[in-house]
């Protein structure tokens, strides 16, 4: 790799994911009091954008993705009135969320949205991106599992989303699989095709421990928005940990506008005590990163591993082999059932 560029003075907009991606790590069980505590602390630390929603975003409450303690509307109504400077955002995955829910998000004060598709299916998002723009929302095209499309292919998908009205295109490393060079070539290719005013963002997962390095690599190539999660609270081994990212930015002279010490305190005093398990690189989350599997599958695979007696690593590797993508959580139990049948672990099976 070439020598690191001098990034002093570069401005980056950080977007916290703990209260959306972090919902996955909490099995959607974050209380409104916890939401308020985290969001107000993030607001006070100067974080400009905070995502608040079910882990699956709009329409996420389901048997497929779990039912949260509260509706998205209840979470927004609790958090948004307390924000002094931060804007609240949401996630919309077409096929799960709809424009009706987007309208409701707007009505409850949400002003920014990630409209997310698999990295090859951008053309399932035109009506949602257009609708978000019509509402006047800050609108992002969010290309998930970005390692499964090459740089040129991903750039073409980003260009489609830009044509629907997206103002920022995100490279979303949902599996935490990418290495800095993977990020660099994708940002470079996007930058080459997008309009100069269209921003580029990077959303990392820490499954290979590359969240920070990948985010810095993205900034080097011209990305100006970075998703991170305070305390790393997120799916898999968590998102790029926000406080670590801000510390690195401070050292490099990249301007985030965030108060590092306040974020450290929030991490230590509120986020860590909230965690049901230590969100870190461990056997299962490393498997996700190594095999390129959607990070959200982790806790589902661990639950079904116990139910059917199949090691979660075996389930995750098989899901990777079958090329399952985000949203196919139902296929985890299907895969576990089929593996249990093959291994003679299921007795009472109709089919």
């Amino acid at each position: 790799m070439s020598e690191l560029k001098n990034l002093k003075g570069r401005k980056v907009l950080v977007h916290d994911m703990a209260l959306r991606d972090g919902m996955h790590a909490k099995r959607e069980q974050i209380s409104t009091a916890q939401m308020i505590a985290v969001a107000t602390a993030l607001d006070d630390a100067g974080v400009p954008l905070i995502q608040v929603a079910h882990g699956g975003g709009l329409g996420g409450n389901s048997l497929q993705h779990g039912f949260a303690l509260h509706s998205n509307e209840e979470y927004w109504d609790a958090v948004i009135p307390k924000m002094k400077q931060a804007k609240v955002s949401a996630l919309l995955i077409p096929g799960l969320g709809t424009m009706k829910e987007l309208q409701s998000a707007y009505d409850h004060g949400v002003r920014s949205v990630h409209v997310a598709t698999h990295c090859t299916e951008a053309d399932t998002s035109p009506q949602h991106i257009a609708y978000a723009r019509k509402l006047g929302m800050d609108t992002t095209g969010f290309l998930m599992m970005a390692h499964l499309n090459d740089a040129k292919g991903l750039a073409a998908q980003g260009k489609l989303m830009e044509s629907y009205g997206a103002q920022t295109i995100y490279i979303t490393d949902s599996a935490g699989y990418m290495l800095p060079n993977d990020v660099i070539e994708r940002v470079r290719e996007l930058r080459a095709v997008l309009k100069p005013e269209t921003e580029i963002g990077f959303h990392g997962h820490h499954n290979l421990g590359m969240g920070i390095a990948n985010s810095i690599a993205a900034i080097e190539e011209g990305a100006s928005r970075i998703d991170a999660s305070v305390g790393g609270l997120g799916a898999g081994a968590g998102n790029t940990p926000l406080e670590v990212f801000v510390a690195v930015c401070d050292r490099m002279g990249i301007e985030t506008g965030c108060d590092l010490f306040k974020l450290m305190d929030l991490t230590q005093d509120i986020i860590f005590p909230m965690m049901d398990h230590i969100v870190r690189v461990d056997r299962a989350s490393l498997t996700l990163g190594f095999a390129g599997v959607y990070s959200t599958f982790l806790l589902h695979a661990e639950r079904l591993s116990k139910k059917y007696g199949i090691p979660s690593r075996d389930i995750l590797v098989e899901l990777g082999r079958k090329k399952m993508i985000g949203g196919q959580e139902d296929m985890i139990e299907d895969t576990a059932l089929t593996m249990a049948k093959e291994r003679g672990l299921l007795k009472d099976q109709a089919a």
Binding site: G59, S62, L63, Q64, P94, G95, L96, T98, M99, K100, H118, T120, E121, D123, T124, P126, Q127, H128, L148, K322, K323, M324, I325, G327, Q328, D330, M331, E333, D334, L337, T338, K341, Q349, A350, A351
Partner: protein, 307 residues
């Protein structure tokens, strides 16, 4: 035996696959294919298969309806033009089978409620969506045993099988399917999720159906009911198969299905398209049998002007 003559509107994947299905039918005969683009490959294909074609839309078909004896039309275009197509053909007494998500007519899932539509002498029936055809029979199989408070379905489809119309209007698919899970499936609340998966080789259509019963599920009766209805669907979609389940987890009933197509015009993985064309054909055959038996009276329907 004489056959009922049919027109197909929309020479895309669905419309072309319908030609194969209709030609195999003992009571239906495809005679017209309607398109709007003179350079469309689909119109060329239809001509090669012996159909008359027009590139002037439904207006190009209307002058020939009576002379050619067209009695049933299939609309495989889009929700936005369906009402106009349906009004024009209904006015000439042509029965409309709607494969778009427009859902202006009664919703039809053959093993659940086809007979009722025939008895009601409907002039427009809607086939809901591929996911609806693939999952509502299972929801119905549970709800006819005991009440279902909530049903959720997840349809996973191969990227290559999802055309530009569906992609550009994904919400209509979601709304129409969710609504039909309630109205036809019998669940008090319904939710539909769709996944478009680009894996190569393309994945066979998969559907997962979850039902939450109000009381603890009667496992043996629900299992029997599900297996029975799968057999019903297999009569017109032989590749409709149970992969796993039913799994009972408290009040949750989980069923994992796959749908392999016949591989007529569309490859076998595109079970989602096949189940639509097969269900539409099955529906039209039922009407055709009734018409041929003199029990179904097609009648011109005056076009109601929009307010």
């Amino acid at each position: 035996m004489s056959k009922i003559k049919c027109a197909i509107i929309g020479p895309g994947n669905i419309g072309t696959d319908l030609i194969y299905k209709l030609r195999r039918s003992a009571v239906l005969e495809p005679v017209w294919m309607v398109g709007i683009d003179p350079t469309s490959e689909g119109l060329v294909r239809a001509r090669d298969m012996g159909l008359k074609t027009t590139d002037k839309g439904v207006d190009g078909l209307l002058p020939h309806v009576l002379a050619d004896g067209v009695q049933i039309a299939f609309d495989a275009t889009s929700a936005y033009v369906h009402k106009s197509n349906s009004d024009k053909l209904n006015a000439l007494g042509v029965l409309m089978v709607d494969l778009t998500p427009a859902a202006i007519g009664g919703l039809c899932v053959p093993p659940v409620n086809l007979q009722q539509h025939a008895e009601a002498q409907a002039m427009n029936v809607n086939m809901i969506s591929c996911a609806g055809q693939a999952t509502i029979p299972i929801v119905h199989a549970v709800s006819r045993i005991q009440s279902v408070g909530y049903a959720e379905i997840i349809a996973s489809t191969a990227s290559k099988s999802i055309g530009p119309g569906t992609r550009a209007n994904l919400d209509e698919f979601t709304y129409t399917t969710s609504n039909a899970i309630q109205k036809i499936g019998g669940a008090k609340k319904g939710k539909a999720l769709i996944i478009v998966n680009p894996a190569e080789p393309p994945m066979i259509m998969r559907n997962t159906i979850y039902c939450l019963t109000d009381e603890m599920p009667d496992e043996p009766r629900i299992r029997e009911s599900i297996l029975q209805i799968i057999g019903e669907v297999q009569r017109y979609v032989p590749g409709y198969r149970l992969v796993n389940g039913p799994v009972f987890d408290g009040k949750k009933v989980g069923v994992w299905m796959e749908v392999e197509g016949l591989g007529d015009y569309l490859p076998k993985y595109a079970g989602n398209l096949d189940i639509m064309t097969a269900a539409a054909t099955r529906t039209a055959e039922m009407f055709a049998e009734e018409i041929l038996a003199g029990r179904y009276h097609l009648r011109p329907v005056a076009v109601k002007e929009a307010a």
